[in-house]
């Protein structure tokens, strides 16, 4: 108790120095926490965006992930409805899952019949209702994608969406009433109709092929702008369908935005499989909680093994390497900042305690003469370092919480990495008490360790020399 009393009073003996030291620790703590909160918000935002888009897990035919993306048509999961039923009726998975839904990936050429512009595309066929449900996933409250897609007409499987960039390239800004759509510069080069991309194809408009090949009732006349999609079927034959563009959606990543075509699953299957067996390239599984991912993965492996299914499971981080890259980047920056702040605190506290030892040399001699052991002297200075750390880190936590409170209510919005829509900027502080505790504890330990060297110096002082010190 006396040790605590002496330590607590001693740190305020030189008030200005102690306040400066504590302020350094406080600012360091607050900076670390605020950056950590921002980084966590970014991680969770990208996670939310990825899970909304790709689900937590996707089931593919074994080998698709490594070899199949070049020709997804031949990597379809046969009898996928049976697999889907096995997944959705499993008692363990059904408890963990929000939804399991099939998707079909495809690639080909898209042409606008209005502008006669064309280019290659990457497409996904999905079940619109499932897609909208997946977009509601928001486990962490980051709300990274607030915009719902169009409500597709369930009786019209030809309705779909384009990436914003692709819509612009295809000259659909006006028909889709897109805002902020740049105008084509005067004198820009033009290659006319489909000439280079599909030079090898018969010289006729896709629309003619669409009208010739489309099954009756699949394509309906509508006011929405129309594009035609050309792709190779699983059997290698060219196939064409028409897509009525309901909306253009920004995709977050420019490369995807310029090539993305989203369509309803039946249309994608019609394009890829024609009149053959309709398969899917993947079954997307979205869970209630990300932390259940490993459990769900293990369960899926068990189901596939018991049914002798040659299927593989990939998680959203594997499908979206950008997530891992951002996590690694921010983690690296966070570690770097933490180390720098730790070193600053180390030197500041060490310097303050070193000065204190010099100023109190006579007192150290006196207490040693009274019978305090070397360990007692060491303990006292370590305690003083720890108290500086505790006070400074506590003030820092309070500052960070106050900053987070105001930032979260300031209405600031920004577009996070790999996302298309602006989101409210939030510091993920209040939902991460463990990180607050970790930073508080770490910097308190750093402050304590910083006092170790001066404390040892104090403990090793010869009593007679200390008593002679003026």
């Amino acid at each position: 108790m006396m040790l605590f009393k002496v330590a607590s009073r001693s740190i305020f003996r030189n008030t200005r120095r102690s306040l400066t030291t504590m302020l350094t620790i406080a600012i360091g703590t607050a900076a670390t926490l605020i950056f950590g909160a921002y980084a966590t918000f970014t991680f969770l935002g990208i996670e939310t965006s990825s899970v909304q888009r790709f689900g937590h897990l996707t089931v593919y035919r074994d080998g698709y992930f490594d070899f199949g993306s070049g020709n997804p048509a031949i990597w379809g999961i046969p009898q996928y409805k049976t697999v889907l039923r096995d997944i959705t009726t499993d008692p363990v998975l059904s408890r963990l899952m929000v939804i399991a839904t099939p998707i079909q990936s495809l690639a080909g050429i898209v042409e606008s019949s209005q502008s006669n512009e064309s280019r290659t595309f990457l497409g996904t066929g999905f079940v619109p209702a499932d897609r909208e449900r997946m977009k509601q996933w928001n486990e962490h409250g980051t709300a990274s994608r607030g915009e719902n897609g169009p409500a597709f007409d369930p009786s019209n499987p030809s309705e779909g969406i384009l990436g914003l960039g692709l819509a612009r390239i295809l000259g659909l800004c006006a028909p889709l009433k897109l805002g902020n759509c740049p105008k084509l510069p005067a004198g820009a080069p033009s290659d006319g109709a489909v000439s280079t991309d599909v030079a090898g194809l018969p010289a006729q408009n896709f629309s003619d092929l669409v009208s010739r090949d489309a099954p009756s009732g699949l394509v309906r006349a509508h006011d929405y702008p129309r594009v035609d999609l050309l792709a190779a079927t699983a059997g290698g034959a060219p196939n064409v369908v028409s897509l009525q563009v309901r909306q253009a959606e920004a995709q977050g990543v420019r490369e995807l935005d310029d090539v993305y075509v989203g369509m309803q699953l039946p249309l994608a299957q019609q394009l890829v499989y024609g009149r053959g067996e309709h398969r899917v390239t993947g079954i997307v599984i979205q869970l209630h909680r990300t932390e259940d991912m490993n459990a769900a993965r293990e369960r899926l492996a068990a189901i596939f093994a018991s049914h002798h299914l040659a299927l593989e499971v990939r998680d959203f981080a594997e499908l979206n390497p950008f997530y891992t890259q951002v996590v690694n980047l921010f983690s690296g920056i966070f570690s770097f900042i933490s180390v720098i702040i730790g070193v600053v605190i180390l030197f500041t506290v060490s310097n303050a305690m070193g000065m204190s030892v010099i100023e109190r040399t006579d007192e150290i001699g006196t207490t040693r003469a009274l019978g305090v052991r070397r360990s007692g002297i060491r303990g006292q200075f370590l305690l003083e370092g720890a108290m500086l750390g505790v006070l400074g880190a506590t003030i820092g936590v309070i500052l960070a919480l106050i900053a987070a409170y105001f930032v979260n209510r300031a209405g600031i919005s920004y577009v996070p990495p790999a996302q298309a829509e602006p989101v409210p900027l939030r510091l993920y502080m209040f939902g991460a008490p463990l990180r607050i505790a970790e930073v508080w504890l770490t910097l308190t330990v750093v402050a304590t360790l910083a006092a170790l060297l001066p404390a040892n110096r104090a403990a090793k002082l010869q009593i007679v020399d200390a008593l002679r010190h003026v």
Binding site: M1, M2, K5, V6, R9, S10, R13, D362, E363, G365, T366, T367, R368, A369, L370, G371, V372, R373, R374, S375, Q462, I463, V464, L467
Partner: protein
């Protein structure tokens, strides 16, 4: 147990000051009986303080035997010597050396905490010592709020509160005016009589010397005279 509370046998203490080796104490042998008011006198630089430090176990001899309160302290570990000092030896310093962040009460209580005395007994003993040195009214004041004489009274109370075998005082009146010094000497004499503790002083103060039961005179690190009053 021997009635000699301090026994030095052929004790030497050398210091290295730069390239020069200083022989501060040269083969001193002496015994100090218990419950005496003992003075160590001699000119400046004669080795008084060094001898006091050796007796107080805050310095180790270069050679020879130092036995305090029946215990050979020369072979104890640093921690054991610290514990021994905490229990057996009280100090009164020329510059008072009170802990500045503690009140008069807390300064006096401090040595009792080192020996594990119960809170109740600490309080009783501390208040008794404050009353004995006439500082009950100043018990909450910190050293910077006390006069020189009051500080030295606190130092005396701190040295005696644990009832040590020996109290060592190095020039205890050097920083006090003559009137205050006289009152401090009277207080120490009274306290020594009441507590029957051995007081050992190093001093030039003639007034203090006149109260001594026994006087050891040293010069150039050697004991040249031992006289009983």
């Amino acid at each position: 147990m021997s009635d000699k509370v301090v026994q030095l046998a052929n004790v030497t203490k050398d210091y290295q000051v730069g390239a020069e080796r200083v022989h501060a104490v040269r083969g001193i042998t002496l015994s100090i009986p218990a419950q005496r008011f003992t003075m160590i006198v001699g000119p400046s630089g004669s080795g008084k303080t060094t001898l006091l430090n050796l007796i107080g176990c805050i310095d180790a001899p270069s050679s020879g035997e130092v036995e305090i309160s029946g215990r050979d302290v020369g072979h104890l570990s640093d921690s054991a010597v610290s514990d021994f000092r905490a229990e057996k030896i009280g100090f009164i310093f020329q510059s008072f050396s009170l802990i500045p962040v503690l009140s008069a009460y807390e300064n006096i209580e401090y040595p009792l905490l080192l020996t594990g005395v119960s809170a109740k007994e600490r309080r009783r003993a501390t208040l008794a010592m404050l009353e004995a040195v006439g500082l009950t009214a100043q018990k909450r004041q910190r050293p910077n709020e006390l006069s020189g004489g009051q500080k030295q009274r606190v130092a005396i109370a701190r040295a005696l509160v644990k009832r040590p075998a020996i109290v060592l005082a190095d020039e205890p009146t050097a920083n006090l005016d003559s009137q205050t010094g006289a009152s401090i000497i009277a207080l120490m004499r009274r306290m020594q009589t009441e507590s029957k503790t051995t007081f050992i002083f190093a001093s030039h103060d003639d007034h203090l010397i006149s109260h001594a039961d026994e006087i050891f005179t040293i010069r150039d690190g050697k004991l040249i005279e031992s006289a009983r009053a």
